[in-house]
Symmetry: C2
Subunit: 304 residues, 2 copies
C-alpha cells in the first residue's frame, strides 16, 4: 500500500507500541507520531525510539496525520476525542484498538468532524504484559483484526484501513459493532472475568494456603493466572463498557455450570463424559487454524 | 537410590509411560513391567519399547515387583486392586498417580494384603495429551509429587517411594489425603471444570458461530481450550471421586463470581479494578517459583 505521510498513535502501551514497531517494519508511514498521557511512558517510548516524534499534547500529535489510532484504555476515549477533535486533519481516518466497539462509537462519534473518517477497529492480539517495552513488531502476524465501520462509511477509507492492518501482518474481518461486542464477550471478556475470578477465589480460601496454590499450580490453575495478570485498568474499562453482552454470556455460563455442578453432585458420569468429549474438537480446530500451538502445554519448556 | 529389581506400571498412558521413560533415564529399576487394559495401548507401548516386558494380564504384571504403580483412571482402581491383590509380592510398595486420594484409599485399601505397603501418591504434572506416545522422560522434572501415606505406614517404605519420585526428577511433599483433595480441588479440578464449562458454553451459543469462536480465540478463549482437551475418562473419574471438595470450592467460586457479576451490572469500576490488581501477584509468584514460564503468552511462537 501507499504509505501514510503521517500516522499518530495515541497511547504507547503494549498495542500502541506494537503498532509503531510493525508500521516501521512494513514501511507503512513516512512519519510516526506518538502521544501518551503518562510522562513515564513517553520517556520509555523515547528511549526505545518507537516513534519519529513524541508529544505530551495530544492535539499536537494528531495534526496533519492521515491516520490516528486511539490505543489508550477505552475509558479514556471520550476525553481524548474531545481534545483532538479540532486538530484532526480533513480526510483523516480516526480509528482505535478498543476491545469494545459499541461504547467506543457512543463515546467518540459525536466529536468526530464530518470530514474525518471514523472507523473503529479491534486487533485480536496481545499478551499479559503491559507498557511500551512489552510490544513487538510481530504481535499481529496471523491474528485477526475486526473493523466495525458505521453505516455510510466511505468504502475507500475502510479499504485503506484494511490495507494498513494487513500491512501490520493481520488478517481483517468486517462486522457490525454489536455483533463484535457479543463475539468478544464470549471469546475474550468472559474468559478474563472467569480467570480473574478463580485466581481471587484461590487467594481467599482459608483452608488452602497461597503457598500451596502456587506450588501445585501446574495442575491447571497456572493457566488462568496468565490472563488474570492482564492490565487492570484496561480490563476494568472493558467490563464497564460491554456490560450487556458480558452479562448475557455470563448468564449462559452460569446456567451451564449449574448443570455440571448438578452432574458432580449426583455422580452423573455420563453427562460429565459427554460434556468433556465434545470440547476436544474445538481445541483441535483452533490449532488447525493456526490460532494456537499444537505443542503440549503451549510449548512451555518441558520441565515447565 | 538402590534400584528396584522390578517395578510394575499399571496403565501406560501419558503418566504411566512417562514414569517408564523417567525410570529408565535414571536407572531406578532393573526391570520395568507394564500392563494396560487396552490391547491398542499395549501394542503402542511395545512399539515404543517403553517396558522390558508387557502383560495383558495385570496379575502377571505385578508378580515379584517391589513397586507397583496404578496409572489407570481412578474409576478402574477398585477392580485392579481386586485383580492384583493375591499377586502382590510380600514387602512390595503399592502406589498410584491418581488426582484424588480419599477415594483411592476407599477403593483400594481393603484389598491390600497386610504385608504390602500401600502409599498413595500424586505427581502434579501432565499435558493435555493422552496415550503412551504423549509421555516423555522429563515430565516430572521440577514438578511436585504429593504422597499421602496412611496412619501407621512404614517410614522406610515412604522414604523409598520418596527417593523414587525424586529420582524421576520430582520434588516431594507429604500430606493428609483429605487436605490433598481440597488443595487439588482448587488448583486443578475446579480450573478443569470451568474450562470445560466455558468451552461448552461457547459451543452452544446461537448468536456467535463456532467458526467465530475459533477465529478470535487468541483473545483469551484459546487458553481454556487446552485443559478442556484433557482426557474425558480421567476427568469424569476425578469429579465422580472428589465430589465434596469440588462442590466446596465451586460454591466459593460461584459466590465470588456473583460479586463480580454485580460489579459489572452496577458499573462498579473500583471493585473490578481492586480485584484485577491483586490477582497479578499470584502470577508473579508462580513464575518466580519456576512453576511457569515468564515469557509472554506462555512463550508460544510470537506469531501465535
Amino acid at each position: 500500500m501507499e504509505p501514510f505521510d503521517k500516522i499518530a498513535i495515541i497511547g504507547l502501551g503494549l498495542i500502541g507500541s506494537s503498532i509503531a514497531r510493525a508500521t516501521r517494519r512494513a514501511g507503512l508511514a513516512k512519519e510516526i507520531a506518538g502521544h501518551d498521557a503518562s510522562p513515564v511512558v513517553l520517556n520509555q517510548a523515547a528511549k526505545l525510539g518507537l516513534c519519529d516524534n513524541l508529544h505530551a499534547d495530544v492535539g499536537d500529535c494528531v495534526e496533519d496525520a492521515g491516520l490516528v489510532i486511539l490505543c489508550a484504555p477505552v475509558g479514556a476515549f471520550k476525553a481524548i476525542a474531545q481534545d483532538i477533535a479540532q486538530h484532526l486533519a480533513k480526510g483523516a481516518i480516526l480509528s482505535d484498538v478498543g476491545s469494545v466497539k459499541g461504547a467506543v462509537i457512543r463515546d467518540v462519534f459525536s466529536y468526530v468532524p464530518r470530514d474525518v473518517h471514523f472507523i473503529p477497529a479491534h486487533p485480536i492480539a496481545g499478551t499479559e504484559f503491559s507498557g511500551p517495552e512489552a510490544g513487538f513488531a510481530s504481535l499481529f502476524d496471523g491474528r485477526w483484526t475486526i473493523l466495525t465501520p458505521l453505516a455510510g462509511s466511505d468504502p475507500a477509507a475502510v479499504e485503506r484501513l484494511k490495507d494498513f492492518w494487513e500491512g501490520l501482518g493481520s488478517q481483517v474481518d468486517v462486522m457490525d459493532s454489536a455483533h463484535h461486542d457479543l463475539v468478544l464477550a464470549i471469546t475474550s471478556h468472559l474468559p478474563h472475568l472467569i480467570a480473574y475470578n478463580i485466581v481471587g477465589t484461590a487467594h481467599d480460601l482459608e483452608k488452602v494456603t497461597e503457598g500451596e496454590v502456587i506450588k501445585y499450580s501446574a495442575s491447571g490453575f497456572r493457566d488462568f493466572t496468565r490472563i488474570a495478570a492482564s492490565d487492570p485498568i484496561m480490563w476494568r474499562d472493558v467490563f464497564l463498557n460491554n456490560r450487556d453482552a458480558v452479562l448475557e454470556v455470563l448468564g449462559r455460563f452460569n446456567e451451564d455450570l449449574s448443570q455440571l455442578q448438578r452432574a458432580v453432585r449426583n455422580g452423573d458420569g455420563q453427562t460429565l463424559y459427554d460434556w468433556f468429549t465434545r470440547t476436544r474438537a474445538i481445541r483441535r480446530a483452533i490449532v488447525d487454524l493456526g490460532q494456537d500451538t499444537a505443542a503440549p502445554n503451549f510449548g512451555r519448556n518441558k520441565s515447565q
